[in-house]
């Protein structure tokens, strides 16, 4: 039943719904891509985090891009805090890249933790995917639970970056106790 509901929900988000195991993995990444953009609605960046009115909000991807075309599709025509969205794929991450959202793709040998360390304290919403070690987790970390895409939130990291995360979002996060 839940599976069906998720499928239905994803079908609404993703243009085409492939089938089979591969299809399930593709579906999962499509959901994550949509969520990545949707997080923005529940996050408030500190003043000066954006370059100026009219300049795009950047969703950056560090590491191997798992979304491909799906992310570009998902954010097409959408805006973050009245800024048009541009997707930036970073080869390497320096200190404080000009990103509002930084997705650090999973990678071996502590690359994720290093990347996160470099942007720690910057007003960047870092998002990671299923960090086993807490050091590998960004402000938001995707978690697959009961075959559903869920997430957890590192409140301390958000505060360090000067980000205000809506309580509505927090309540949905794993370990928050759920909605009131």
């Amino acid at each position: 039943m839940r599976r069906l509901a998720l499928t239905l929900a994803l079908a609404a988000t993703v243009a085409s719904a492939p089938r089979g195991a591969w299809a399930a993995a593709a579906l999962e990444m499509a959901v994550k891509a949509a969520y990545l953009y949707r997080f923005a609605a529940f996050v408030q960046w500190p003043p000066g985090a954006f370059n100026g009115p009219g300049t795009p909000a950047q969703i950056c991807i560090a590491g191997d891009d798992p979304f491909g075309n799906v992310l570009d599709q998902a954010v097409k025509g959408k805006k973050i805090a009245n800024h048009p969205i541009s997707i930036v794929r970073l080869d390497r991450v320096d200190k404080a890249p000009p990103c509002q959202i930084l997705f650090v793709a999973p990678s071996p040998r502590r690359r994720v933790a290093e990347t996160l360390d470099k942007v720690r304290g910057s007003p960047i919403l870092t998002v990671t995917d299923s960090g086993a070690d807490p050091a590998d987790r960004g402000v938001i970390d995707f978690v697959l639970q009961d075959n559903r895409v869920r997430f957890r939130i590192d409140g301390r990291a958000a505060v360090e970056g000067g980000l205000a995360i809506s309580s509505k979002l927090r309540r949905l996060a794993i370990g928050s106790g759920g909605p009131p």
């Binding site: 998720l6 929900a9 994803l10 969520y35 949707r38 923005a40 609605a41 529940f42 805006k79 509505k168």
Partner: protein, 589 residues
Amino acid sequence: MTAGARQPMRPRLLPTVGAVIAALVLVVAGLAVAAYNENTFKAQASREAQVQADIVAASVTAALAFDDESAAQEYLDALRANPQVEAAGLYNSAGRLLAGYRREARQALPTRVVNPFSAQSDGHIMVAAPVVQGATRLGSVYIRTDAEPPARRAFRYVAIGLLGVMASLVVVILAGANSVQRQANRALGEANEMLRLQIEQRERAEEALRQSQKMEAMGQLTGGVAHDFNNLLMVASSGLELLDRTQDPRRRETLRQAVRQALDRGADLTRQLLAFSRRSPLKSSVVDLGAQLDGMRVLLDRSLREDIVVRFDIEPGLWPVEVDPVQLEVALLNIAVNARDAMPNGGLITIRARNRPDRAVEGLDGDFVELTVTDTGRGMSAETIHRVFEPFFTTKAVGKGTGLGLSQVYGFTRASGGDARIRSEPGRGAAISLFFPRSTRPLDAPAADAGPPPEVRTPANVTVLLVEDDDAVAHAVGAMLSELGYRYDRAPNATAALERLESGQHVDLVFSDMVMPGAIDGVTLARVIRDRWPDLPVVLTSGFSEAADAAARDGWRLLAKPYRMETLAAELAAARADGPAPRDAAAKS
């Protein structure tokens, strides 16, 4: 129905019509208010549904954004707290249903909701609100509410119904009150009429009682007076008879005094009766009580017996008092005679007068002069004291007392602004005290009649026409006239008198009784004479106080019966000297 009965209906009808109109206005106003309420209620219910949807929309943004079905369901299930919400659904940005809530299973949810809307149908309100987070449109919340729960709607209809019922009740009550009032009015009128009748009956009964009391009093009075008078006449006539039979000067003198006393007593009697019945206003003057008492020594001596000693104890410098001297004399005489009667074997009467300053006497405010008559007689019981001032109260045998003496005393002192009190015990004498308020006015000049009687001038050749119906009186008066030196001619009535005058018979003066049988009375005769023989003087006489008063008021020369010879002489002489009747008498007729 008569016109008179119809008249009062109109004012009664008017308020009823007004009330009905008022009630109708009330109903219409009530319905208008209800309709208005209905509209505002619907608008409000719609607003409430919208707000509800907005709240849900604001709460479920994250759940919707991240497809958290269970969280969304929990938010929607929270709507159970609002009984008006029938169904609610959460739709994603594609318009697909994510989670739904139904109060009852049979209620359905739309399968697709994309755009916000608000609709009403058949008492239900359907609202779809957008779910927006920041600038991002995430989907919609759909809510259907029952605009008005049945109980509430029923209550509203009941309220409107109640309004109508109350309005009709108002009309009914008003109509009822109207008829009740009419009935009450009728009852009141009847009660009033009854009361009036009762009052009338009571008044009649009281009047009858008064009349009978008056008759009883009159009976006592006439009985007593007749008895007294008979006795007096007996004394007088037997005395006269005896006078004719004896030549012994001492015996004749005793008899003459007895007759004299009887006649005086008779005069006293009538004077008292008149004082009592006439209730004439006091002819008060400011007098020195000491001087007045002094002047009464002779009168008292003559009224009492030889075995009774009268002692005067009068404080010099008594304050002036304002009293009617004649009444004072009568009062003192009444008291003295009572004392005499209480002392059949003789005794002492003390007449004492004292100034009594403010508050010296209990119950009297201000300065008073006290006059107390004390005797050494048999005294009175408390019961008697309680009643002595009542008219006709007497312990004396029939014919011996009228019971008017102390009643006159009391009436006189009260009318003079004073008070009368009695102290007595059986066997220990009695003291009757009169209190007169001190007068602030100066003493009046002594009355003219207090002086020596005017010199009786023997008229020469003067003819008096005596008009008198009573033969005995005519005879007696004729004798007096002759004794005074007048010539007289008697006419038995006014008509006869006029005939004499018209025949040209010489008359110098007309002396006429006032109340006579026949067509003309004394006053009329006097008027005719004044008109036709203006120079002829007329003197009227009467024993009836009312007639005498009327004549005196009209200015006629008047001689009240009984009178002494000196008085008659003086009056006739004065009439001849003054000439005809005074001018004001002519003016008044």
